[in-house]
Symmetry: C2
């Protein structure tokens, strides 16, 4: 039975801060009945988030259509629940609704929320909570499965979306592909995965290796990336993921026009060339691997700017380049299939 | 008041498995009154661990000189307490002794140990327990402080020892140097630090950055390294540390003759050249940095083999090379001071 979700974005209703909301609405459209943000009540999801059509924005749970789950629709740096969201979370728990959160700060450990949940019998799902305690051993990996991994020059450039779209494009071409989620939003969409940024750091490579072992019955695995090897705060997560999933091929994701690290405006982003070099160097410490395509996020570009950027990067790097929203992910899926043939992997007999 | 420690190595009394015991005995010699391993009772620490002189090995706490603390002397992969050690831990707690552990599996969360501690009023110190929740921001770093960081081609090659010895050599030359601990054993020795491998992975870079901010009043900081950028299981920890401490100079540590990753005998180690390249490439994504010396661990070599290796590596890489036990850390300390002059850092006025 599909869930009936109210997505909470109180005070954070823009496409960047409410990244989780946007992605859940995009990939689970039938499940979302309302967006909760009292400051934008009366508008539609489309008006405030650029997605979701007529899904209403409401000021409280009372004003929303019947729902069984309140989903926290943000994923801020540091991972704490903003104070303005407490009221709605508490209201949901008091009326017996499930509350699902991808924050680092576990709602289930908040005494007030825990008490409310106990009293009403409602459930708190902290998607990032995990007890990963296995170290990577590099054994049992089935080399028939093609592993594609998305990386990038920053966080919030679209790695999850690109991964989902490539997996979907491969499926549309008749291949047995699977999207492997590694972040809270991806897990909310896919229904499984590993919240790698919340794993104790000694065990991140091992947790990712387990994801590979659990999904390698598929012909092609597209593993969601996180952060960037050059991100001052999150590079450890990125490398644990890159080494744990031992990819054959990488897709480098970036946002056109972004010059500085998201949230750290005093730090310049590295060029695509530098990111390709760094990712290939680090991946090849574990397993043969190369960059097979570029995913540009051109959300702030005019169509003309997007096409000019695409041509320029394509000729500069000699790689396929797509914005998966504008152009679809077909070229990147084809790049994965070329790599599959080239390194002698292929559909199972 | 110095502690009176019994170091527990039950069933694991060799210099590799009992790495924590060996280092605590080496750098806190006055505090250790006995080693507890029933299988070697009657011997001396020197006989089973190659260090500690006449410190007695005993079969039980009853047979040891009076002590206030039982220190778990091992740090196994995966970080669990071996079953054979439970009896001694419980006995210590029952008689009101403090139990100090650097394991990933927190003794304080074990119901039997927790109950025994509550009953007797004894204390359990889980050195790795932390609630790090700060992300790195790359602000507030004082560039007058020289930051030296030890890296390597594997775990268990001697990074902690090399870091302590370089800091001590710098102090002996009259400089204000500090050893910054990043692992459980280093923290037990230094009395402070951050157990980076047990930090949630989103926050490791930030936790290390805080260590830098807390120690940069010193002229020179020597930050203990962990794992290796090429380690299948622990590379995420290594990169979070490398990026969080934004080093000016690196010392690459390795063990002479080791061919495969410690505990993963199916994985070949990378060459020193590859490790220098990988570490310089990744460090320079954040901050200008280069390798300034090599620390060889020649514990399995004859003196002749050690000298031949030293000469060969020195001429191959054009860098100072020492085994800090055989040759002292003077050459590596001098390399740090040359770098300090070269990049225009120096003693505070």
């Amino acid at each position: 039975m599909p869930r009936r979700l109210i997505v909470l974005t109180e005070g954070y209703s823009n496409p960047i801060n409410a990244k989780t909301a946007v992605s859940v609405i995009r990939y689970r459209p039938g499940e979302v009945v309302a967006v909760l943000d009292s400051g934008s009540a009366g508008k539609t999801a489309q008006q405030i988030l650029n997605i979701g059509g007529d899904i209403p924005v409401v000021a409280s749970i009372d004003q929303a259509p019947p729902a069984d789950t309140l989903l926290v629709g943000i994923a801020p740096q540091g991972g704490k629940l903003p104070g303005v969201m407490r009221k709605a979370v508490l209201a949901a728990l008091e009326r017996g609704m499930t509350v699902e959160s991808g924050l680092h700060e576990f709602l289930g450990e908040d005494p007030e929320f825990a008490a409310a949940a106990t009293k009403s019998g409602s459930k708190i799902i902290d998607v990032r909570r995990n007890r990963e305690r296995d170290v990577a051993t590099r054994t049992g990996i089935d080399e028939r499965c093609l592993r594609i991994h998305t990386v990038g020059n920053d966080c919030c450039v679209g790695k999850m979306v690109v991964s989902i779209e490539i997996a979907d494009a491969l499926k549309a071409k008749g291949h047995d592909a699977v999207f492997v989620a590694t972040g809270q939003t991806g897990i909310m969409i896919a229904g499984s995965g590993c919240p790698v940024d919340c794993v104790v750091s000694d065990f991140i490579n091992g947790a990712v290796e387990k994801l590979v072992l659990a999904n390698q019955q598929h012909e092609i695995m597209v593993i969601e990336g996180q952060g960037s090897l050059a991100h001052p705060a999150y590079s450890a997560v990125t490398l644990g993921l890159l080494h744990g999933c031992v990819p054959d091929g990488l897709i480098v994701c970036y946002e056109v026009g972004r010059k500085h690290v998201n949230g750290l405006e005093h730090i310049e982003l590295k060029s695509l060339e530098e990111m390709i070099r760094a990712n290939e160097a680090m991946a090849n410490l574990m397993h043969p691997c190369r960059v097979i395509g570029i995913a540009m996020n051109s959300r702030l570009c005019t169509p003309e700017q997007a096409e000019a950027e695409r041509e320029q990067v394509r000729s500069r790097l000699g790689l396929p380049v797509c914005d998966v929203y504008r152009h679809g992910a077909g070229e990147l899926a084809d790049a994965a299939l070329r790599l599959q043939r080239e390194i002698g992997k292929g559909p199972r007999k």
